[in-house]
């Protein structure tokens, strides 16, 4: 009896997966918002000066992240002369070794907690939560006029001991509201 159920389950799985794979995987040319965000995260590392010298740069993804798949292609590449590594993190201890930390907007409730973990450490914080820079975060990715743009909280970067290049600041969108 259980064997029959298993067999039937197996048949269903096969059917369902076949369904899923009739979708051709070669359609990968569409630029999605997630892809843009991933490209931004990698680019920021080129425009921000971190203290000290290192050969590896860690881009950390916090919590319920969904950018992982879009960053996979960048892993191991040289970014500003350093090897890029992607890591998933969920606690303060794991964050200590990050240079850049992305906090997705689905983790909005935990923004302040995470910002406190990184306080005064040389970590560049980035989020796609609209209010991120106002909350004291480093860079916010915001959707405006049909484009994905970014806001830089210079004060937050300075506090973290980071320096954004003038070129980057020129491209940034003026921050909405004053920094706290």
């Amino acid at each position: 009896m259980p064997t029959r159920i298993l067999l039937r389950l197996a048949a269903r799985i096969t059917f369902a997966t076949t369904l899923a794979f009739t979708i051709p995987a070669s359609f990968g040319e569409v630029t999605t918002e997630a892809q843009l965000k991933a490209a931004y995260l990698v680019n920021f590392l080129k425009y921000v000066e971190f203290p000290g010298t290192r050969t590896v740069v860690n881009l950390c993804l916090f919590g319920r992240d969904s950018l992982g798949p879009y960053l996979a292609g960048y892993e191991g590449r040289q970014v500003g002369g350093r090897e890029l590594r992607i890591r998933k993190v969920s606690s303060p201890e794991q964050i200590a070794d990050c240079q850049e930390l992305f906090i997705p907007d689905t983790e909005e409730a935990r923004l302040t907690a995470v910002l406190r973990w990184v306080d005064k450490q040389p970590i560049l914080t980035v989020s796609d939560a609209d209010t991120f820079t106002r909350e004291g975060g480093g860079i916010a990715l915001v959707r405006a006029e049909g484009r994905l743009q970014f806001e830089v909280n210079v004060e937050a970067l300075t506090r973290a001991g980071l320096r954004a290049s003038p070129q980057m600041l020129r491209l940034a969108r003026p921050m909405a509201g004053a920094a706290r």
């Binding site: 159920i5 298993l6 039937r8 389950l9 197996a10 269903r12 799985i13 096969t14 369902a16 369904l19 899923a20 979708i23 995987a25 359609f27 990968g28 040319e29 569409v30 630029t31 999605t32 918002e33 997630a34 892809q35 843009l36 991933a38 490209a39 931004y40 680019n43 920021f44 080129k46 425009y47 319920r64 992240d65 969904s66 992982g68 798949p69 960053l71 996979a72 292609g73 960048y74 992607i86 890591r87 998933k88 969920s90 606690s91 303060p92 201890e93 794991q94 997705p104 689905t106 935990r110 302040t112 406190r116 973990w117 959707r143 049909g146 484009r147 994905l148 980057m168 491209l171 706290r180």
Partner: protein, 714 residues
């Protein structure tokens, strides 16, 4: 063995289809990036990629583009969620079978406040809990979630998260009108008082004229008038502390036709249709304070007070006061992410009923539930392997202490795929209605040959359910296996299988039978003069009473597969597919009544269900959306069947499988004004989706409807 081989084959298939993301954007500079237009339809992250459970997210955009006007219709897009419309306002909603108008195995929360009605352990869907436009996203987690969400999250949890008020400033108005006498209105105003304080007030009203009866196309009586007012205030206190207050009031007014098909009158017994009016109301006040401790512990405390009422003419009047207190803490340290919580709920009701149709053992009662849980997500290998485990201990007035546990393993072999395994158990504590209610539950007419003088008599048999007094919790435990894969930057797929075992499931059990005519003594059926008098039936009337009681009599296996896929075909065109298959197998029982109940349960849910949504941005100002959805057929029990039959055995109505379609065309005049033409249920002119359980509601036709809606923002 076979299954292992199959999984390897599936994994291989997924892997071969995988290719690295983001090739074309690689060499872009920051300068190029800020100039790239986003035309894509997918705004927000759709998946909960890191959750070791069958999860699905519905975004505000998905809600708007679905064209749906009521919350249950929105939920149809999620795999594993079964939604069937009963009439204009009433729905049966469940996850993974066991559907019913009073389905008991689904937990529904709005901003952490449970909509679970403690009287019967389900949700009254005719009451709009929140305007659809105020919803930020809906997170749906299928499967047992009792550890985190409480003892009744047996088959799934629906988490409705409302928009933050700072994103709802200004004024917005939506006015809609359409066929079937549909008129909707939504208005909102909000303000950012300062950098840290904002509020919003919104109101929604819906009106629908009666639909048609399925059987005879005559007008039914399900005219619907719904209204909901919702207020929210957010105040940021700085340093990780914030305060939110919600106040809402909702009301629903509709009528129902309780059918008999056909009317039956014989001697002292009359069975005929009635049309009771129904008014539901609910008012709630919720406050939440979140703070960040110096040690890094994130805490949140939420208190809510809800007063609600049910008023069904000549049947039942109920008022309920619910107080919820909920504390949750979170501490992330090293490789652990620990979550714990303590909650207490107290629900006091007062009920008056129209006997003998319905009676409650106690006129008023207070139920208290207290629960304590702890859950840890432990990263065994960073980026690769995560182990989760949790336990909840809960005490309820009716069912004593219950323990729920879960354990999960999440393996992410690469950035773009994850495989998870979950074990979970969940009890469903008995609801007050299951323990304390005595109710007329059905009727049939049996043709009997009377030997002397020889003639054929039509004997009505009335089913009456007596209050059971005590009822144990229903128990469930099961295994789930799931796999998620980002196939390319534009395609993702999610598949999971589950197998759950349920024991102590609620069922009916025959306690005894009596008649109101001495002739039944010939078949050794006694006459119960006192009870016949209670039901107002004079002795000498040929009526039989079949007395039942609710008991924990059934056990079942529930298996299923759920699949969802998301494909951004072009920047402006997105396809979303979901499919689910579920199979409920109830154990045979030696008791004939219990066994028959099991069969009814097995046949009552559709086996297959599928949905295909297409969202197309024709131009930046024009959208065209199409939604094809369908389900296979099922059989619903006829509660009152007065057509004489030889055996009086339960009869069923076949609800045929269906495929239907919704369309939406939207034109944006400028950034503040939009028009949309919505067509719903366009395939199938004369369609039936459900037949109510417990209450013999006349089946209503789910007919095509058109709606024109305008949205202004100023």
């Amino acid at each position: 063995m076979k299954r292992t081989t199959l999984w390897i084959a599936i994994l291989a298939a997924f892997t071969s289809g995988s290719h690295a993301a983001g090739d074309s954007l690689d060499e872009l500079s920051l300068e190029d990036l800020v100039k790239t237009d986003i035309t894509s339809v997918a705004r927000k992250s759709q998946s909960l990629a890191d959750v070791p459970a069958a999860a699905f997210v519905i975004t505000a955009e998905d809600i708007r583009r679905s064209g749906a006007r009521a919350l249950p219709d929105v939920l149809r897009m999620a795999p594993g969620i079964q939604v069937a419309q009963i009439d204009n306002g009433r729905y049966a909603v469940t996850a993974r079978s066991f559907n019913g108008r009073f389905a008991t195995k689904l937990q529904v929360l709005v901003d952490g406040r449970s909509l679970y009605h403690s009287l019967f352990g389900g949700v009254m869907w005719e009451l709009d809990p929140i305007p659809l436009e105020d919803i930020e996203r809906i997170e749906i987690i299928r499967g047992a979630g009792a550890v985190m969400w409480g003892a009744n999250a047996v088959n799934g949890v629906i988490n409705i998260i409302s928009k933050h008020t700072r994103n709802q400033t200004g004024t917005a108005v939506t006015v809609s009108g359409g066929t079937k006498g549909t008129a909707d209105f939504y208005a909102r105003t909000g303000q950012s008082v300062s950098d840290n304080t904002s509020w919003k007030l919104s109101a929604q009203a819906r009106h629908i004229e009666p639909s048609r009866q399925y059987l005879n196309s005559a007008d039914s009586v399900d005219r619907l008038d719904n209204a909901v007012i919702d207020f929210r205030l957010d105040h940021d206190l700085g340093a990780g502390r914030d305060l939110s207050v919600w106040a809402s009031a909702s009301r629903s007014k509709t009528t129902e036709l309780w059918n008999t098909q056909p009317d039956f009158s014989q001697g002292g017994l009359n069975v005929s249709a009635i049309t009771p009016n129904q008014v539901l109301n609910s008012e709630s006040l919720v406050g939440r304070y979140r703070w960040l401790g110096d040690t890094g512990i994130e805490s949140s405390i939420q208190a809510s007070l809800t007063r609600s009422g049910i008023e069904i003419d000549n049947f039942v009047t109920e008022t309920l006061t619910t107080v919820d207190l909920d504390y949750q803490g979170r501490y992330a340290v090293d490789r652990h992410d620990i979550l714990w919580g303590l909650n207490h709920r107290s629900a006091s009701d007062e009920i008056s009923t129209n006997e003998p149709y319905i009676a409650f053992t106690r006129r008023s009662a207070t139920q208290r539930d207290t629960g304590l849980f702890i859950h840890d997500d432990w990263t065994l290998i960073p980026d690769k392997l995560k182990l989760g485990a949790g336990i909840r201990v809960a005490t309820t007035t009716a069912n004593g202490t219950n323990v729920s546990t879960n354990a999960t393993l999440l393996w992410t072999p690469s950035r773009s795929d994850s495989l998870w395994l979950k074990y979970a158990q969940a009890p469903r504590t008995s609801a007050r209605a299951e323990r304390d209610v005595s109710i007329l539950a059905g009727a049939s007419v049996v043709q009997t040959a009377i030997p002397f003088p020889p003639f054929t008599a039509n004997i009505p048999v009335v089913t009456y359910v007596n209050a059971s007094g005590g009822l144990s919790p229903e128990k469930s435990q099961g295994l789930e296996l799931g796999y998620r894969k980002q196939l390319s930057t534009a395609i993702s797929a999610d598949i999971n299988v589950y197998r759950y075992r349920y024991t102590d499931l609620r069922s009916g059990r025959q306690t005894w039978m009596f008649g109101c005519h001495p002739m039944f003594a010939l078949s050794s059926i006694p006459v119960d003069a006192a009870k016949c008098a209670y039901f107002g039936i004079p002795i000498g009337t040929p009526v039989l009473f079949n007395e039942m009681q609710t008991t924990n009599g059934l056990a079942a296996w529930n298996d299923g597969i759920e699949l969802s896929a998301d494909w951004l075909v072009t920047p402006g065109w997105r396809l979303q597919l979901s499919y689910s298959w579920s199979h409920l197998k109830v154990d045979h029982d030696s008791n004939a009544t219990i066994d028959a109940d099991g069969k009814i349960m097995e046949r009552a849910s559709p086996r297959h269900q599928a949905s295909l949504r297409s969202q197309w941005n024709i131009t930046p100002s024009q959208q065209f959306d199409l939604w094809l959805r369908g389900a296979s057929g099922m059989d619903r029990l006829n509660l009152v069947d007065t057509v004489p039959s030889a055996t009086g055995a339960p009869t069923f109505t076949r609800i045929p499988g269906y495929i239907t379609m919704d369309l939406r065309y939207a034109y944006r005049v400028n950034k503040d004004m939009e028009f949309a033409l919505i067509g719903r249920n366009l395939i199938g002119r004369h369609r039936l989706e459900y037949l109510s359980d417990y209450i013999p509601t006349a089946a209503t036709e789910i007919a095509p409807a058109w709606l024109l809606t305008t949205h202004w923002r100023f």
